[in-house]
Each structure stands twice: as C-alpha cells, then as structure tokens.
C-alpha cells in the first residue's frame, strides 16, 4: 500500500505540473489571436479579469519567485551533506517558488497581451520566465523523487536544474525590471552617476510669437516641431517611445501620437485645453494623472511650447507623405543645357544666363587682367602673381589667353598641390601635429595625399583609397583615438561614419549617432549600421551613451547605393563601401564635391552650408549639370577647376556684403563671385613671395618627397631589425628583472608612436620657400584662421579679430620676417622711389597713386633706413586691399 501511495503521489504531482504547462502553452497560443503585436493593437474587448490578473503579475511574482533563488543559495550550503537539517526548508522554498513561478508566468502572459511593452525585452522576459517555471517544476518533481523514493542518483541532476532555475529567475528578473522601469532605472537616481537622468530643455521663445496670429510658415512649422520632438524625446520617450509603450501611447511617431493611447486621442490639434496630453503635463506633479509620472515636471517654457504647438494645429511630419525635413534626391540628373548664344559658350555661363534672365540681372563686364590673374593665381595655386607675370599677362595678345594661363597654373604641379593640400587637410582632418599622436591613436596621410593631389587622381579613385585604405591613406577613417574611455558616439568607427558622411555626402550624422535625430529623419540604427562598415564586428547600439543590448547589420545610408555584407570581414566591407559610394548613380556624392569646389572658387556654395546637401541650391540645374558631367568626365578635379575658372561667371566682378549674414540667407541671389579674404596660408605664402620667406628656420616641416620618405622607411626598418637582433640577444640573458621589462615595453610603445607620427624631413628641394601648408600649426597661422583639425573642417573663418591683429602688430614671426626683408630690399632696390614702385607692383599689382606715393615717400625719403622699409612693408601687407581677393 505504502509503495503504491509513494508511487502515485509523484505521478499526481507530475500530472498537475504538466497540465499547468499545457494551459500555459494554450494561453500563449490562443491569446496571440487577440493581438498580433502588442504595440499596435491593444483591444478594448480584452476580458477585464484577464486584464486585472495580468496587472497583478509584477506584484505576484517579485517576491515568491525569489524563493527559488534562496533555495539555490541554501542548496550551496548543503553540497557536502545532502541530508543537512536545512533540507526541509529548501523543499518548502522550492515548492512555494515553483508555484509562484507558474502562476506568474500565466499572469505575465495575460499582461503582455494587454500590451504596452517593448517587444524584444518583453520576449526575453517571457521566455526566460516560462523556462524558469518549467525548470523549477521539474526540479520540484526530482526533489520529491529523491526524498520520497530515495533516488539519490538524481541529486546531481536535481542540483543542476535548481541552479538553472535560479539563474532563470535572475535573468527574467533583470529583463522584467527593465520593462517596468526602463534600463537605467536604478542608476538614473544617483545624481553623480554618469547616467543621471538628463533632459535637454531646448528653449523656445514662445512669447515672441504668442500674439502673432498669422499662420506659421513651413519653415516655422519645422522649427516648432523639432522643438516639440526634442521635448518629447528627452522627457517622454522613456515610457512612450520605441522601447516601451506605456498606456499604449507612443510619442515618437506621427501616426502613433495622433492615434492616442488607451484612453483615446491625446492631442486635439488646435485645442490645447481639450488635449489630454496638455492636461496631464500641466497637472501638479503629485496628481495621479500628472506626466511625466516618473521624471521631472516639464519646465514652464516647455509647456508653453507644447501649448503653442497644439494651438497651431500640432504640425508633425507625415511619414506617408513627404518628410518635414527636406531630403535632396540621391540620383544624378543631367538637365538639358540651354542653347548657346553668340557670346556664351561655356556651359556654366549658359546656366548663369538663364538664371540671370529669370532674376532680371544684366551681365556685368568681366574683370580686368590684373584682377583676373591675381584671382586665379590665388585660387588655383595659392600664390600671388609676380610683377613680371602681371606684365607678361597684360602684354599677351592671344584671344584665349585667360584659358591658356589657367592651364599653365594648373600645370604648376607642386604649387597646385601645396595649395590644395590645405583644403584637403582641413576636410580630412589631416595634420602634422595634434591630439592622438602621443599615444599612437592617430595616423598621418600627408604622403599619400600629396601624391594623390599632385597626380590629379580622379575623385572616385581618391575617395575609394580613403574608404578602403592602404597603410598610407588609412588616417581618415581611423579617426583620433584618445586614451581611456570615450563616449560611444565618439568611438573611432562612429567618427568614421560621421566624417565620411559629412565630407563626402554633405550629411550630418552626428545627432543620429547618439539618438534618433530630430533635425532629420536619420535614426540611431542608420548611424550604427553605417558605422558597422568600419567595425571588425557589429557594434552594440548605444543610445545616449547607454548600451541597449541591440545590434544591427552593416548598411549604406541609402539602400539604393547597394548592399554591404554584414558578415564579411572589415576589409571586404570597406571595399564594398568604396565601390558603392563612388558609383555613378550616387548623384549626391558628386554634387557634394562639386559644390565644395564651387565654394572654394566662388566664395559661396550653390548650396549652403556646404555640409547640408539636403538644402536647396540657388541653381539646381547648374549644380546637377556640373556634377553629372564631372562624374562622366572621369571625375577630373582639374578639369572641373578649368571649366569654372574659364567661365564668364567666374570672371564677374566680385560682390561684397556689408552684412555677412546675407550671404547665407535663403534670399541670396547670385550676382558674381564673393569677395574673399586670403586664407592663413595664402597670406603667409604671399608675404614669403614678395618680401622674404616667413617659414625658413628649424620649424618642423612635413616633407613629402617620395625618395626621402622611402629612405626614412628603410632606416626605420633597419633600426627595427637591429633592435630585433638585440632583443634576441637579450632574451638569452635570463636575469631580466621587472623594471627591465617595463622599460622595454615603454620603448616599444615609444617606437610604435614614432612610426605613427608624421614624417619630419627637410623642405622640398628647389622650392623658393617653405609653403605654409607644409608647416606645423603655430600661433601665427592659427590666429589667421588655420583650424586645429581636431574635427573635420570644410570652411574657414575669415573675419578679423583682436588676437589676430595683435599677432600681426607685434607677433614675432611676422615682424621678424619684415625686418629681415627690409635689409634685403634695401640692398636690392636702394632708393625710396624704387622700393615704393616695387612694393606696390608686387603686392597690389598696380602703381601707387600720386597721394599714396607722397605718403610713402614721406616715410622712406630718398635713401630709406631698414626701419622705414619695414614699416612700409607692414602697412602694405596689412591693407585690406592686399588681403582681400577682389
């Protein structure tokens, strides 16, 4: 009898357990018919009791289930002696925990059907929960078998399952907690924690608008919407966003926000008072309905913004229609060229002609020879023309002499290269000194860059070699790595994604590399998918520097640009990226560079800012035509430069502005090239040309001669081999102490750093002076606007300031140059008259006027002192007429 009873008891038990599990599975399957997706469809006809029980889930579970953990803990103490007195306690805990686990699994299924939870975390929680219930039930069954039937052989299996159940509790518990409270629930409460609950309050001056009854312009709607989205993103998305959908309300999408939550619509466009959302954010924070329920109350200003937004009809981009953010077409476009006229042959002029007639502008006369030569010399090779050249050009009678001279300048290969080197150094953030080199966290690409420019490498090939680089060209995508921990949005792969999209596509991915952008439609996953191309493995997505546990594959930013094999090695992904990027159908890629070159020459891009290629061009036809034909023409940059500079459009008189803001205003009308100020390098090189080299001393210079670089590499290799041999010898010596090892490590690191540092070699042989583009950054060049190149820089600041004026007024580098130059000129030109004639001719390309001559002569006299000459140099070089390119 006893035997029978003993046998039947566990069977009964087993039957109960199995039937419970069957019910669980049944619920899981049948409830699926209620809601396909918990985010989209929360049915109101869901039976109230299920809903009630479902909501009990969090309370019902959290305590009893932890009994399983406690059971496992006690089990640890009985590992040596299974029959310890605590055994009875363990069994009780196990029984209670198992029952609780099963019940909570059922309730949990009911709750998840009710919805409001982010799918992925919810799935993990659901399945670990059900798994825990299952394993604990089996464990309980085994425990009973061991106890009742004395099957001691099952002890090990029982223990393994018990620990699995305990681990299951921990995992399920973790994901459950994230579901209820968000991932950073705990850390967010610690004020000095890096995760401290933050909220950006993008201030928005509503008061200025409140009384304005006119409807918003499109632009204003966009601004307002961005403000509102910023407020939502930082205060509401935590519970009403893609990760969690409390109250069935999502505030991050247009369709979701106007659908409303479980209690119906929350925003009634035009009527703040009737909008539940507005009611809740204005309630006192202790009110039951107040929102945000967990975070800080919104500031008065934010509330005012939302009020105003609803009042104005709650503008929001419609994802089914065109986005609120302008997205320029990706594809290339080849508009039909207007018909040539008798006077106009250059295609650029044909477009300009069309634009001028549409804007009722009459073609002005092109500039005179002097202005033209100075302009193209500075624009193409960065140098001022000498007096001789100006004279020769003036006397040149050939009809197409301007075109001939443009060609001539483009063929001055070294001059051309050393001018455009600065442009590319800025854009590719390539510098000879700077952060990162000290710890080997940065690479220099000057050698490659110099040769690429000099050989006029086609632009597609140029970019391919930067994206899928060799050791010589990898500095751009490798970025700058600082020692220590950096923000996830600044890891080098993300830097590459940001910089590549900015420089080559005129696209700002910086917002999206931290969170879904609210100034564009780019999403966090887009940024990570693009960054993954530059990564060895897939990067974990971080949102606002917090890991999300999610991953995404590797993708181009536009699927039209082709696929990237996510599982491929980094080199393969980079090769795919390079090919995809430069393909002819990537119109944006070619438009971006054409716009940049145009801006370099004309002082303003067809599109501004140059890095926002989604903005409208003042002549889309001209830009599209140039980009299309640039690509067709082997993306030859020199040909593009020729095409532009040989046009009448380029040769129009320069346009000046009193107010710089008008230059980039949307109302800008093109009337000709803008007046530009010399860059730091142009100014230094001009002074060096005219007076005496400004950089001549031991200042470190980066040299780019191939022979010398090869020699240096050879030397380095020799040194390495020598060191290797020494190391081998040393290894034999067994008495190496700790300090020795540390020292060697340090030396090795130092050597590696040296390899990475730019190669410092003597200046180019034969050059008249050291071009400023080759020297290390220094206070003189910085004050004149050379950027530090810590970040990508695609345009220069050219307004003067006090620090710059001080540098020129008493700075050592500039003043010692004019001092040296004065003695040289005194010996060379001797009389005041000759010196005045020469300086005016060489610096300004003209003779001094009578009154200018009188003033200068007053200073110099017949036989001037070096001091007087020095002062005249200073005066002339600081004249706006000298520094501005007309």
């Amino acid at each position: 009898m006893k035997d029978v009873k003993n046998k039947s008891y566990p069977r009964k038990k087993l039957a109960i357990v199995i039937s419970t599990l069957v019910i669980l599975c049944f619920l899981q399957i049948s409830l699926n018919s209620y809601a396909e997706s918990p985010t989209d469809n929360v049915s109101n006809d869901f039976f109230w009791l299920w809903r009630f029980l479902g909501r009990l889930h969090p309370i019902a579970v959290h305590f009893p289930v932890s009994l399983l953990l406690f059971a496992a803990l006690l089990e640890l103490f009985t590992l040596k002696n299974f029959d310890a007195p605590s055994r009875i306690g363990i069994r009780l805990l196990l029984a209670a925990g198992t029952i609780a686990a099963i019940i909570s699994a059922i309730m949990g299924l009911l709750l998840v059907k009710e919805g409001g939870y982010e799918l992925q975390a919810s799935n993990i929680h659901q399945w670990t929960g059900i798994g825990t219930a299952f394993f604990s039930a089996v464990t309980w069954f085994l425990s009973n078998s061991i106890h009742k039937k004395n099957k001691r052989s099952l002890i090990n299996l029982y223990r393994v399952l018990l620990f699995i159940s305990a681990i299951g509790v921990a995992i399920a518990g973790h994901f459950g907690a994230s579901l209820t409270h968000g991932k950073d629930y705990i850390t967010a409460t610690i004020p000095w924690s890096d995760n401290y609950d933050k909220s950006i309050n993008s201030k928005f001056d509503v008061s200025a608008l409140k009384n304005d009854t006119t409807p918003l312009t499109k632009q204003q709607s966009i601004e307002l919407n961005v403000k509102v989205r910023a407020i939502f993103a930082h205060n509401c998305y935590k519970c009403h966003g893609p990760e969690k959908i409390k109250g069935d309300l999502r505030l991050d999408r247009r369709d979701m926000i106007f659908k409303g939550g479980e209690n119906g619509p929350v925003v009634i466009p035009g009527d703040p008072a009737a909008s539940d959302l507005y009611r809740r954010i204005t309630l006192p924070s202790n009110h039951e309905d107040a929102m945000p329920s967990k975070g800080k109350k919104l500031s008065d200003e934010d509330i005012a913004v939302i009020n105003f937004w609803i009042q104005k009809g709650a503008p929001w981009p419609d994802s089914s229609e065109k986005s609120i953010f302008r997205l320029a077409p990706l594809a290339p476009r080849n508009p039909t060229l207007p018909i040539a006229t008798e006077n106009l042959k250059n295609p650029i002029d044909l477009w300009t002609n069309q634009y001028f007639s549409a804007n009722k502008i009459i073609w002005p006369k092109v500039v005179d020879d002097n202005t033209f030569l100075r302009r193209i010399s500075l624009d193409l090779v960065g140098l001022v023309p000498s007096g001789e050249e100006l004279e020769k050009f003036a006397k040149d009678n050939r009809k197409n002499k301007r075109e001939i001279w443009i060609r001539k300048l483009l063929n001055q290969k070294d001059d051309y290269t050393l001018h455009w080197l600065s442009f590319w150094n800025d854009a590719l953030r390539n510098d000879y000194t700077g952060t990162g080199y000290i710890t080997g966290g940065r690479r220099n690409i000057t050698y490659w860059l110099f040769n690429a420019i000099k050989s006029n490498k086609s632009y597609d090939q140029f970019v391919k070699e930067l994206l899928n680089p060799t050791d010589e060209s990898n500095g751009f995508i490798e970025g700058i790595k600082w020692r220590g921990v950096v923000n996830a949005s600044q890891r080098t792969e993300m830097q590459a994604a940001q910089n590549v999209s900015q420089v080559f596509l005129g696209l700002n991915l910086k917002c999206a590399s931290c969170h879904n952008s609210f100034i564009s439609d780019w999403k966090l996953t887009d940024a990570y998918a693009f960054a993954n191309i530059f990564a060895d493995t897939s990067l974990e997505i971080n949102r606002c520097d917090k890991p999300t546990g999610k991953f995404t594959g590797a993708r181009m930013l536009w699927k039209e640009l082709g696929a990237i094999d996510s599982s491929a090695k980094r080199e393969e992904k980079l090769a795919q990226l390079a090919t995809n990027m430069v393909q002819a159908s990537n119109g944006r890629f070619y438009r971006t560079i054409v716009n940049r070159i145009w801006a370099q020459l004309m002082g303003r891009g067809l599109i501004e800012p140059l890095d926002v290629m989604d903005n409208e061009a003042w002549s889309q036809d001209l830009l599209d035509w140039m980009a299309f034909n640039f690509q067709k023409n082997n993306s030859d940059i020199k040909e593009l430069l020729f095409l532009i500079t040989s046009s009448n459009t380029y040769q129009l008189p320069s346009v000046s502005f009193n107010d710089a803001s008008k230059i980039i205003s949307p109302q800008y009308v093109f009337k000709g090239r803008l007046r530009k100020r010399m860059s730091a390098e142009q100014f230094a090189d001009a002074a060096s040309t005219i007076i005496t080299p400004i950089f001549y001393d031991s200042m470190s210079i980066t040299y780019v001669d191939k022979k010398a670089v090869l020699e240096e590499i050879k030397k380095q290799k020799e040194r390495q081999e020598k060191k290797k041999a020494e190391d081998k010898k040393k290894k034999k010596d067994k008495n190496k102490d700790k300090e020795n090892i540390a020292r060697e490590k340090k030396e090795k690191e130092k050597k590696e750093r040296k390899m990475m540092a730019p190669k410092k070699l003597p200046p180019i042989i034969g050059a008249a002076f050291v071009r400023a583009s080759l020297v290390n950054n220094n206070p003189f060049l910085i004050s004149l606007g050379r950027p530090t190149r810590e970040t990508v820089s695609t345009s220069r600041e050219s307004q003067s300031n006090l620090l710059q004026a001080l540098e020129l007024t008493n700075g050592d580098r500039f003043n010692s140059m004019i001092q040296r130059g004065a003695s040289i000129w005194k010996n060379k030109y001797i009389t005041g008259d000759v010196i005045i004639k020469e300086i005016y001719q060489q610096a300004l390309g003209r003779a001094a006027t009578k009154s200018e001559y009188t003033i200068a002569k007053k200073l110099l006299g017949e036989t001037p002192t070096p001091d007087a000459i020095e002062d005249l140099f200073w005066i002339i070089l600081l004249l706006p007429e000298f520094q501005i390119i007309y």
């Binding site: 002082g603 303003r604 009193n658 950027p787 970040t791 695609t794 050219s798 006090l802 020129l808």
Partner: protein, 474 residues
C-alpha cells in the same frame, strides 16, 4: 513676422556642420544663434582661475588627514598624509603644512572638499584637464570652448583694451602640448574668444608692446601712415565689406591696447619691490601678480597655471612629499597675497578666485575606490625609499578646491571626504558642471546659455543640465 523668427530661420540655414562659417569668411561668432533667458544679478565681474596642473593631492594640501612621518620600512597603506596639519583662520579647520598663508585668509573664502572628477578610464592628464576646462569629455564632434571663451563670448572684456581671456603660464611645446592646445581654444565660438597666451609672465609685457626695437613714436607714426594709406587707396570705389570693416576694427583695437596706459598692467617691474618679492616665487607667483594687476585694470577671465608638464610640478609620480614641499612654497605666498591685495583694493568682492586641479592623488588607489583604472605608478607596499613616500596615484573621488570673493561664502567649508582610506567624498559631492554653473551664476550668465551649432544646441554645460551650487554663495 517678428525678427526673432527671422533670426531663427536664418540660423537654421547658417549653422554649419564645420564650426566655421563660409569660405568667403562669414563672421562666425555673429552668426551663432544663442539664447539667454532670464537675467541674473551678477556677484562677480572677473574670474581668476589658479590652476594646479597635474593632479594636486587633497590629503597633502587642503584636506589633510592623519600624518605619518617617513620611516624606513613603513607600510604604504598606513600613509594618508605626508605633512603635518596646520591651523587655518577657521576653528577646527586645518590645511597641510606649507599652506599657512592661504590658511590665514580662509576667512575670506570657501574650501570645497568634495569635488569628484570625471571618470574617463585609463588616466591621461590632458583629458581630465580638457574635461575640467570645457565641461565636456574629449573627443567631441564639435570643438568645445574653454570656460574662459564662453565667458569672453557672453560678457566681453571689462576694459575694452584688455583681452577678455588671458592665459598665463602654460607653454605648449612640452609633452602633451597638442592635447593642451585642444582645450585652450574658443572652439566653435570662434578665434575671437580664444585665449591671449602669456606663457611666461616675466615676458608678458612683450605681448602688449610694440615689436622689439620699435619705440612708441615710430609705432604711432607707423599706425598713422597705415590709416592714411588705407584711406587714400582706391578701395573706396570698391565699396565697403564686412571683411574690411572687421580688419580695420581689430587693427584699431590692437593699436589701442598696445599704446594704452592699461598695458602697464602687464609690466611687473612697475610693482613696488616689497610686494613684488612676495609674489616672486617663480613663474606661478609672478603670474598671480600679473593677474592682480590685470584685475585692477579691468580683466574678465584670467587663468594662472603652475604649468602642466608630464611628471613635473603637481604631476608627482615619485618623491611626492619632497616635491610638494616645493610646490607649496611656490603657491602659498602669492595666492594669499593676491587675495589680500585684491581685498585691500576693493576688487575681491567682484572677483571670483578659484583654485583647482584636474583630480587628486592617493598613495594606493588609482581612479576611484569602486572604479579603479589601470595603475600607472608602481607603489611598493613597504616604503624603504623616500622617493616612494608621497601621493603618486591618480585619485578622482575626492579633490579639494578653493573659492574666494565674487559673492562666495566667507569662512566656509563645503563637503567632506572620509578620514580613512579611501579618503573619498562622503558629503555633498560636487561635479564639474556644478562648478561651471556656479562660476557662470556668479557672473550672471544664465544656466541655459547655449548656441546652435550644426543645428544642435551646445550648452555651457552638457545638455544644459548643470546647476549652480547655491550653498556656495553668501
């Protein structure tokens, strides 16, 4: 349409992705869209930052703990302070030996003993210094401005001929020079708000004098002829433009500064000898003297540094005790005198003086007790050599700062660190964004001050979240 909207609309199109404006040369700073909400009453006009570069150990300076004198064979873990404690002007508040003079003026300011430096992993001084000075952790996708540049941008100079942001004592030709340059910049605010650098205060006058070898009459004549030739030139026909205007304006400013009587503030030889001698403890002391003279003539933001050079000055990877004795000699007299002098001349009330360092040091803990990072200093458990006696590891969890004047409480101690190792902050932890906002608050700069760069708001403190610590104000 209101001008406000036009401005915003305009800026939406103008905020470039590259910090600078147009290639043509738009005046960048003028184009930035900013936002100042409420006006705050300032309690200070001038800020002097006394920068203890390299990591100043709190337990050996302004927050001394139990003193254990050096003996051969001593246990490293027993050592909390390597100096005796000495009384200050406040009852029961002690400083470390060698800082008596500063202690005596503590009744004019506040000692903060609970600064918690940022966590940035494997320590690199220049990174923590970047964080301290910009409130942002490098690298950043846009160039973050130095606090002095923010102040210069928001308030401009006090006296128009004295540059608004003056940086005294740091050379950039030393180790980590490039990393130092990375934060000695106005960043996206534009060069105009960058630091006026005086690497050596004894040569400071050179920076504001006509070029070497040029007397004042020649200098004046040169400038006069410059103006004449500029006006005579055919430029008038070409019309005016903003580049030309800005060139003319800044050249005039430079000329004014170089020949103005205020320039004598840079001339330390004008200081009475007995006072000069008190300050003359080296470059730092003379920097304090220059700061005093500039403040009296109307400066906005001055920083004087003990100078950062890897393994030098406060960067004590060895001989911490003996080297600190020297460092204290450098700073104690000049800082106390600076406070006394400004107090006497009536400037202290409107001048906020801050003494700070990027982090502290400890003999055992590298990083924070609960977040240790890779150790960089080999510290034997038993000390036999005095070179191992000192605070050599980089400690971020409890650092000392001082604040004087400018509306700050007088005779106050803020926060507390534990009396036993780890001597970490246990009361009122204060972080860099609070420090910055406290400084801004004193100057009347609103908390939400920001500019839109690349279409994103860039605040003085990240996300505009920092709040001033009102408890520090009187």
């Amino acid at each position: 349409m209101s001008s406000h909207w036009n401005r915003r609309e305009f800026l939406k199109n103008s905020s470039t992705a590259t910090l600078a404006a147009l290639a043509a040369g738009a005046p960048l700073a003028g184009l930035l869209s900013g936002c100042n909400s409420t006006k705050i009453n300032a309690t200070a006009d001038t800020v002097i930052l006394l920068w203890m570069a390299g990591g100043m150990a709190h337990t050996d300076t302004f927050d001394p703990k139990r003193y254990t004198p050096f003996t051969k064979g001593m246990m490293a873990n027993d050592v909390l302070s390597t100096f005796k404690s000495v009384p200050t002007a406040l009852d029961d508040i002690y400083f470390s030996e060698g800082l008596e003079s500063i202690g005596k003026v503590l009744n004019k300011g506040t000692a903060i003993r609970s600064y918690v430096a940022g966590d940035m992993g494997h320590i690199l001084h220049s990174r923590h210094q970047y964080h301290w000075h910009t409130c942002y952790k490098p690298p950043q996708s846009v160039a973050a401005p130095h606090i002095g540049s923010w102040i210069s941008k928001q308030l401009g100079p006090v006296n128009s001929v004295i540059p608004a942001f003056i940086d005294i004592g740091q050379r950039f030709s030393l180790g980590e020079g490039e990393e130092l340059k990375a934060f000695h910049t106005a960043g996206f605010l534009g060069n105009e708000y960058g630091p006026f650098l005086i690497p050596d205060p004894s040569e400071g006058l050179e920076s504001v004098k006509p070029p070497v070898g040029m007397d004042i009459s020649r200098f004046e004549k040169r400038n006069q002829l410059y103006n004449e030739l500029m006006n005579q030139g055919p430029l008038g026909e070409l019309g005016s433009d903003y580049q030309k205007e800005s060139m003319k304006r800044s050249m005039e400013q430079a000329y004014m500064l170089l020949k103005s009587p205020e320039a004598t503030a840079f001339d330390l030889s004008k200081e009475p000898k007995e006072n000069y001698d008190i300050y003359n403890t080296g470059k730092f002391g003379l920097g304090c003297l220059m700061a005093k003279r500039l403040t009296e003539k109307g400066a906005r933001f001055i920083t004087v540094t003990t100078e950062y050079e890897p393994f030098k000055n406060w960067d004590t990877h060895d001989n911490g005790h003996t080297r600190l004795a020297d460092m204290k000699k450098q700073i104690d007299g000049p800082i106390a005198q600076l406070i006394k002098d400004l107090d006497q001349s009536g400037h202290l009330d409107r001048t906020l003086i801050i003494l700070a360092s990027e982090f502290s040091r400890d003999m055992m803990v590298e990083g924070r007790p609960d977040l240790k990072v890779q150790e960089q200093v080999n510290q034997p458990d038993i000390i036999d050599d005095i070179k191992n006696y000192g605070m050599h590891r980089h400690f971020t969890d409890g650092c000392s700062m001082l604040m004087f004047g400018g509306g700050i409480k007088k005779g106050y101690v803020y926060g507390k660190t534990a009396d036993e190792r780890p001597c970490k902050t246990i009361e009122k932890p204060i972080r860099i964004e609070q420090i910055h906002q406290t400084i801004y608050r004193a100057l009347g700069i609103p908390e939400d001050t920001h500019y839109v760069i690349e279409k994103r708001p860039f605040y003085t403190t990240p996300d505009g979240l920092g709040r001033a610590e009102m408890d520090l104000f009187a």
